[in-house]
C-alpha cells in the first residue's frame, strides 16, 4: 500500500473497529492526492461550531464515487460527538449522471440513518448538477450516522440489463460538502461525556490545554500527572490526533486565552483555590476528577487529590476510567489501589507467539455482508511490538464463514493481510457454502508490530441467466464471517531490531512495552517543550492501544542521558559535549547523507546552526554506518521550519537502550512539527532511523543510516537467529566456510587415498 493511502486506511479502520460492522468498499485504486490534502480534510472533520467538510473525509476513496448498475449505493459513516447538538446540517452534492438514463425512472436518493430525506431526479438533459439537501437535526444521533447515497437508474422501460455499462452516476466527493452548525449541550456536563468531548468526529476536540500550577513545587505533577492526562484524552480520540498544550497558570488566575474548548486544570486543592472560585472546587476525598461546563461550549476538567500522589493517581485512573459507567460530574478513585499498582490492561490484546486467538478475543464480532457489489470485512490483528520469529514461519487461519445461495459468476472472496493478497476463494456453488476451519496459511513476516488487519474483500454478483430481461437485483446475496474463526501464531520470542521508527510508529516500542509499562523517559530541553512532548506521548498511547503507564516527562537534559530516552530539544539545546561525542547533536556539525541532503536542500538556510553530525554518530563501533563514506556531504544550513527525528543506540545506556532525538530550530517550530507528525498523514510514513519533515503539506523524508542492533528478553538462541536473519551475510559467510571445509576435507581424503595408492604400488 502506498504511503499516501495509509492515512485514510487508518481512519477507515478506526471506523470499522468502532462499529464492528461491514461497510461497502470501493475499488482498490491508488489515492491520487498527497498526504497534506488528506490531513487537511481530516482536520476539517474536527469541531468548529460551524464549518463545512467534504464527503471525501468520510470515505477511504477521496475524489469520485461511481454508483453503477440498476441499483447502487454507498454509505458514509459520519461521526458525531454526543456533546454536540446539531442545529443545522446541509449536504451539498455535486454529481454527474449518464446521459442514457430514463429521467422518470432514475433517481439519486439521500438517506440518513436509513430514512430517505431527498430524491434527486437524474436527468440526461442536465447530466451535471448540484443539489442542496437539509438533513434535519432530529435525524442525527450521537456516534456514527449512516449517510447513504443510493441510485436507482434505468436506461429502458422494460427488458433491461441491470448491469449495463450505461447505468452510472458519479458523485464528486471532494466537491460535495457537509455544512454543519453545532451547538453545545444544554444540560450540565458529566464525566460520561468525556469520550464525546474528544470524539474523533464532528463536535470532538482535537486540541486541549493542560494547566498545572506554576513554580518548581509542581514539577512532579508536570512530570508524572500531565503525561497520564494527555494519554487519557488522546485515547478518547481513538485514532485521531490530539494536540496537547501546556501552560502554567499565574498568580492572577487561569489564562483566559487557552487553545481548545476544554481546559484541564491539574493540581492540589490548595493551589486550585487560588485560581478558582470556591463553588468550582469539589470536596476532595482522594484521587478525584471533576468536569464542569463553562458556558459557550467550553468545559473544564479538574484532576486533583489531597496529595501529589493522589493527583498522579487521579491522572492514571483517568486513563482507564470507563466513561459510560461514570454518569456523575465528579468521581473519586479508590485510594491506594492505583497509586503504585500497575494499571489494568483491559481491552488491550496483543497476540504473542505459540497461541491461538478467536477473532472474538481480538474485538471482532460476526459480520454479514448483504447485497450485491463490493464489501469489505476487516479483522484486527494486534501484534506484540517485540514479536519475533523466524522468517519462514507460518501463521495459520482457521476461518468459519459461509455464503448464501444464488451467487453468480464473478463472486469471490479475497483475503489480504496488510494489503498483501494471501488467498482467494470463488463462491461458485449456486446452493451456497458453509465452511468450518477453512485453512489458510501465510508467512508471518506479513505481520508487523502493533496494529494489523486481515481484510476480506467480498465481491457478490447475482447470477446472469436467461438473457438480459431476467436479471437479478442481488438482494438475496449474503456472506458471513464468524467471530469463532481462529488465528494461530507460530512459536516466537520477544525480540526486535532497533532503531526502527516504523515500529515506534505502530506500537510506541521500545518506550511503550507490550505489558503497558513505560520503558524509559521523555526528556525535554526546556519547559516550553512539555506540550509537544505530551502530544507525542498521547500518540504513543494511541498506537499502543492503551496507556503507557509510568511515562514521565523530565525537564532538562542530564549529562549523560541515562537509559532509554526520548528527547525533544532545539538544536541550540543539543549543543553539548556529550551530544557532540556521539554526534546526535543536530547542531553545528554538518555531515549529512547525500540523499538526506538532497531532500533537505530546500530548507531555509541560516547562520551557523544545522543538522548534526550523523556521520559521527553512526560511525561508532557499536553502531556502524549503513551509508558509505562517499555518500556523506558537508553542508552548513539550519533546519528552517523542519524538524528531525533520529533514533540510535544510546552509548550511555545499557542492554540496548534506545535514544531518540526530536529536534527543530525553535520550540515553536518543534511544537508545530510534532502536531503535524502525529496526524495520520505523516505518522504512518515513519520508518528507518532518521526522518525529517516540514509542514504537513510536505512529504516526510525517511531513511536508515545506522546498522540495526538486536534487543530481546528471551533466550540467546532466539537472539542469535534474529541476528542471523537480519544479517544474511553471516549465512553466506557460513556457507562459504562450510564449502571450504568440505573442499578441504575432500582434498585431504583424495590426497590420503592417492598416497595409500602410491604406497601399494
Amino acid at each position: 500500500m502506498s504511503n499516501v493511502s495509509r492515512p485514510l486506511t487508518v481512519l477507515a479502520a478506526g471506523i470499522v473497529l468502532a462499529l464492528s460492522v461491514v461497510r461497502p468498499s470501493l475499488a482498490q485504486t491508488a489515492v491520487p492526492e498527497g498526504p497534506a490534502a488528506l490531513s487537511a480534510r481530516l482536520e476539517d472533520v474536527t469541531v468548529r461550531p460551524k464549518g463545512a467538510v467534504p464527503l471525501s473525509a468520510f470515505s477511504p476513496q477521496p475524489g469520485l464515487l461511481r454508483l453503477r448498475d440498476e441499483a447502487g449505493e454507498q454509505a458514509f459513516f459520519i461521526p458525531l460527538a454526543a456533546t454536540a447538538v446539531v442545529r443545522d446540517m446541509i449536504l451539498t452534492l455535486r454529481y454527474t449522471n449518464s446521459v442514457a438514463l430514463r429521467p422518470e425512472r432514475s433517481v439519486l436518493a439521500v438517506r440518513l440513518n436509513e430514512a430517505t430525506l431527498a430524491q434527486i431526479r437524474l436527468d440526461p438533459a442536465q447530466p451535471s448538477g448540484e443539489a442542496r439537501i437539509r438533513l434535519p437535526a432530529d435525524g442525527w444521533r450521537s456516534g456514527f450516522n449512516k449517510l447513504t447515497l443510493a441510485v436507482t437508474q434505468h436506461y429502458a422501460d422494460s427488458c433491461e440489463d441491470s448491469v449495463a455499462p450505461e447505468l452510472w452516476t458519479e458523485v464528486d466527493l471532494s466537491q460535495s460538502f457537509l455544512s454543519y452548525d453545532l451547538g453545545p449541550l444544554t444540560r450540565p456536563l458529566l464525566l460520561s461525556d468525556l469520550s464525546a468531548l474528544f470524539f474523533p468526529g464532528l463536535g470532538g476536540q482535537r486540541e486541549v490545554t493542560l494547566l498545572p500550577p506554576p513554580g518548581a513545587g509542581a514539577d512532579r505533577l508536570r512530570s508524572q500527572a500531565l503525561p497520564s492526562v494527555a494519554q487519557a484524552l488522546a485515547l478518547r480520540r481513538q485514532f485521531a490526533p490530539l494536540e496537547v498544550r501546556q501552560r502554567d497558570w499565574s498568580g492572577s488566575g487561569l489564562p483566559t486565552d487557552v487553545s481548545g474548548a476544554v481546559q484541564v486544570v491539574v493540581g492540589l486543592p490548595q493551589d486550585l483555590a487560588q485560581v478558582l472560585p470556591p463553588q468550582a472546587l469539589p470536596v476532595v476525598d482522594g484521587p478525584k476528577v471533576a468536569i464542569s461546563g463553562l458556558g459557550d461550549g467550553r468545559a473544564r476538567l479538574l484532576v486533583t487529590g489531597r496529595t501529589e500522589d493522589e493527583v498522579i493517581a487521579a491522572a492514571r485512573s483517568l486513563t482507564v476510567m470507563d466513561d459510560a459507567q461514570t454518569p456523575d460530574s465528579q468521581a473519586t478513585f479508590p485510594q491506594g489501589g492505583l497509586t503504585a499498582a500497575p494499571l489494568p490492561l483491559d481491552g488491550r490484546v496483543s497476540m504473542i507467539g505459540g497461541k491461538s486467538y478467536r477473532f472474538q478475543a481480538l474485538g471482532f464480532r460476526t459480520a454479514t455482508a448483504r447485497g450485491k457489489g463490493s464489501h469489505q470485512i476487516s479483522v484486527p490483528l494486534p501484534m506484540a511490538p517485540d514479536y519475533y520469529t523466524y522468517e519462514n514461519a507460518k501463521v495459520t487461519l482457521k476461518l468459519d464463514f459461509s455464503y448464501g445461495a444464488g451467487m453468480g459468476a464473478g463472486s469471490v472472496l479475497n483475503f489480504r493481510v496488510n494489503d498483501e493478497q494471501i488467498h482467494g476463494h470463488s463462491m461458485g456453488n449456486p446452493d451456497g457454502g458453509s465452511f468450518r476451519d477453512y485453512l489458510i496459511t501465510f508467512p508471518v513476516n506479513l505481520l508487523k508490530p502493533g496494529a494489523n488487519a486481515l481484510n476480506i474483500d467480498i465481491s457478490s454478483q447475482p447470477p446472469v441467466s436467461g438473457g438480459e430481461c431476467v436479471g437479478s437485483r442481488g438482494r438475496h446475496l449474503l456472506v458471513q464471517v464468524s467471530e469463532n474463526s481462529v488465528i494461530t501464531l507460530p512459536e516466537a520470542g520477544r525480540a526486535a531490531a532497533l532503531p526502527d521508527l516504523a515500529r515506534f510508529a505502530t506500537s510506541g516500542y521500545p518506550y511503550a512495552g507490550g505489558d503497558g509499562r513505560a520503558a524509559g523517559a521523555v526528556y525535554v530541553g526546556s519547559a516550553d517543550l512539555i506540550g509537544p512532548a505530551l502530544t507525542l506521548i498521547g500518540r504513543m498511547a494511541q498506537v499502543a492501544h492503551g496507556p503507557v503507564d509510568g511515562l514521565a516527562v523530565i525537564t532538562g537534559l542530564p549529562q549523560p542521558l541515562p537509559g532509554q530516552a526520548l528527547v525533544l530539544a532545539t538544536t541550540a539545546q543539543l549543543q553539548r559535549d556529550d551530544f557532540a561525542a556521539w554526534a546526535a547533536s543536530l547542531s553545528k556539525i554538518r555531515s549529512w547523507p547525500y540523499r538526506a541532503l538532497q531532500d533537505l536542500r530546500t530548507a531555509a538556510t541560516g547562520p551557523e546552526l544545522s543538522l548534526g553530525s550523523l556521520r559521527g554518530l553512526i560511525s561508532r563501533a557499536d553502531s556502524g554506518p549503513a551509508v558509505p563514506d562517499g555518500e556523506w556531504v558537508q553542508q552548513k544550513s539550519s533546519l528552517g521550519d523542519r524538524a528531525v527525528m533520529t533514533a540510535l543506540r544510546n552509548p550511555a545506556g545499557q542492554d540496548g537502550a534506545l535514544l531518540t532525538v526530536v529536534a527543530a530550530e525553535t520550540p515553536a517550530v518543534l511544537a508545530a512539527r510534532i502536531a503535524d507528525l502525529v496526524g495520520p498523514g505523516l505518522w504512518g510514513q515513519m520508518r528507518g532511523d532518521l526522518i525529517a519533515w516540514g509542514q504537513k503539506d510536505e512529504a516526510l523524508f525517511s531513511m536508515q543510516v545506522s546498522e540495526p542492533y538486536q534487543v530481546g528478553r528471551d533466550d540467546p538462541l532466539l537472539l542469535l537467529r534474529l541476528t542471523l536473519s537480519t544479517t544474511p551475510w553471516y549465512w553466506l559467510g557460513g556457507a562459504v566456510a562450510v564449502c571450504g571445509l568440505i573442499t578441504l576435507l575432500l582434498w585431504q581424503m583424495i590426497r590420503r587415498r592417492r598416497k595409500r595408492f602410491m604406497e601399494t604400488q
Partner: protein, 349 residues
C-alpha cells in the same frame, strides 16, 4: 546466712521479673482513686466502657472506649488499658482499620454493633491513647496500632475543600455535593500534634491549620461560640442544617482540645470565657441555641465546669462525684489529665 542471701536474691529477681512483665502498675498522672471509681462505674470486666447516660443498660461508643484508654494510660493501669483495647479491636474494628462507632444491646445476649459507620473522634482517641501508652510503657505493638489507625483516619477521614483540610465526622453521610458537615469538638489538637510528630503524615498539620481557621470563622450567636455541628460549603461556614443549632455537649470539648493542644490564643478562648462568666442568676446553662439565644433549662455538669476551670488556668479542678454521669466523669478526668500534661508530666514529653 546463706539461706537469707538466697531469699534476698530471690526477692530481687522476683521483683525484677514482675517489673519487666508489667505486672505492677507505675504511678500515673491521674488520681488513682478517681480512676478506680471511674473504672468501677463504667468499665466492664471484658473492657467495654458503657455510656450510662444513655440509660440502662447503656450503649458503648468508640469515644467512650477512647476515653477509657486515655484515662487508663494516664492512671498507669496497664491491665485495664489492655482489656479495653482487646475488647475494642475484637468487637468494633473494621477491615479498613477504623472502628464501628456504636455497640449496644440487640437481640443477642452479648450485644452487637448497632451502627457500622465510624466516628472519627473515637478513632482518633483510640489511636492517641495507644500512642501515649506505647511510649509510656515501651510497647511497640501499641505504637504500630496507633500508626495504622491514624493513617487510616488521615487517608479515609479527611477531605480537601479548596484550601481547607476537613475531618469527616464519619466515613459516610457527611458530604453532600460541595457541603461538608464537621464537628469542631472532634478536632483533637494535641492528638493531631502528636500524630504529626510521630508518624509524619501531612494531613495532621493541615487539619490543625484548617481547624483553627474554621474556629475563627465559625462563631455564632450572641457569644460567638462554635456550634456542635458546622457546615462548610464553598469556603463559607454555617450552622449544619440538619442538626440542632447549639453550642452544647459536643462543642464544650472545643476549649479542652484547644488548651490541651497548646492553642491558647486569647482570641480563640475569649468567647467561651465570656459565656461562662456572663452574669446570670443560675449556673451556666448546659447549652445555648446559637440562632435564638435560648438556653438550656438546666445547668452545666461537673465535667463542663472542669473544662472551664482548666481553660481559666485554675489549679483546682472540680471533682466528679456520685451524682455525675459518664460524660461528666469523663470530661472531669480528661481535664485533669490535660492539666497534668500541661504541667509537663505527659507521656513522651
Amino acid at each position: 546466712m546463706g539461706r537469707a542471701c538466697l531469699r534476698l536474691v530471690g526477692m530481687v529477681m522476683a521483683c525484677l521479673t514482675l517489673s519487666l512483665a508489667g505486672c505492677s502498675d507505675s504511678p500515673g498522672r491521674l488520681d488513682r482513686a478517681l480512676w478506680d471509681d471511674y473504672a468501677r462505674r463504667f468499665i466492664s470486666a471484658d473492657g467495654r466502657v458503657t455510656d450510662a447516660d444513655s440509660g440502662p443498660p447503656g450503649i458503648t461508643h468508640t469515644e467512650a472506649q477512647g476515653y477509657g484508654l486515655l484515662l487508663a494510660e494516664a492512671a498507669g493501669d496497664r491491665q485495664t488499658f489492655d482489656r479495653i483495647w482487646q475488647w475494642t479491636q475484637k468487637t468494633l474494628r473494621r477491615p479498613d482499620g477504623l472502628f464501628s462507632w456504636k455497640f449496644g444491646p440487640c437481640g443477642q445476649p452479648a450485644g452487637c454493633v448497632l451502627d457500622a459507620n465510624n466516628a472519627s473522634d473515637g478513632d482518633i482517641l483510640i489511636a492517641w491513647a495507644l500512642l501515649r501508652a506505647g511510649r509510656a510503657w515501651d510497647r511497640p505493638d501499641y505504637v504500630d496500632a496507633a500508626r495504622a489507625i491514624s493513617m487510616a483516619v488521615a487517608e479515609h477521614q479527611t477531605v480537601q475543600a479548596g484550601a481547607l483540610t476537613l475531618l469527616l465526622p464519619g466515613r459516610d453521610g457527611f458530604v453532600s455535593g460541595q457541603a461538608v458537615v464537621v464537628n469542631p469538638s472532634y478536632w483533637l489538637f494535641p492528638a493531631f500534634r502528636d500524630f504529626a510528630m510521630a508518624f509524619g503524615h501531612p494531613a495532621w498539620d493541615a487539619l490543625s491549620r484548617s481547624a483553627l481557621t474554621l474556629l475563627r470563622q465559625g462563631r455564632f450567636g450572641v457569644w460567638g461560640l462554635p456550634p456542635d455541628w458546622m457546615q462548610v460549603e464553598n469556603g463559607a461556614v454555617a450552622l449544619a442544617p440538619d442538626q440542632p443549632p447549639q453550642y452544647g455537649f459536643n462543642a464544650v470539648r472545643v476549649p479542652l482540645n484547644l488548651v490541651w493542644g497548646g492553642q491558647t490564643d486569647p482570641a480563640l478562648l475569649a468567647p467561651f470565657r465570656a459565656f461562662w462568666r456572663a452574669p446570670r442568676s443560675g449556673p451556666v446553662p448546659a447549652w445555648v441555641d446559637l440562632r435564638s439565644g435560648e438556653t438550656a433549662p438546666y445547668g452545666w455538669q461537673t465535667g463542663m465546669a472542669a473544662v472551664a476551670a482548666l481553660t481559666d488556668g485554675q489549679a483546682d479542678l472540680p471533682r466528679p462525684g456520685g451524682g455525675d454521669g459518664y460524660y461528666a466523669w469523663s470530661l472531669a478526668l480528661l481535664a485533669r489529665v490535660a492539666q497534668a500534661d500541661l504541667r509537663g508530666a505527659g507521656p513522651g514529653r
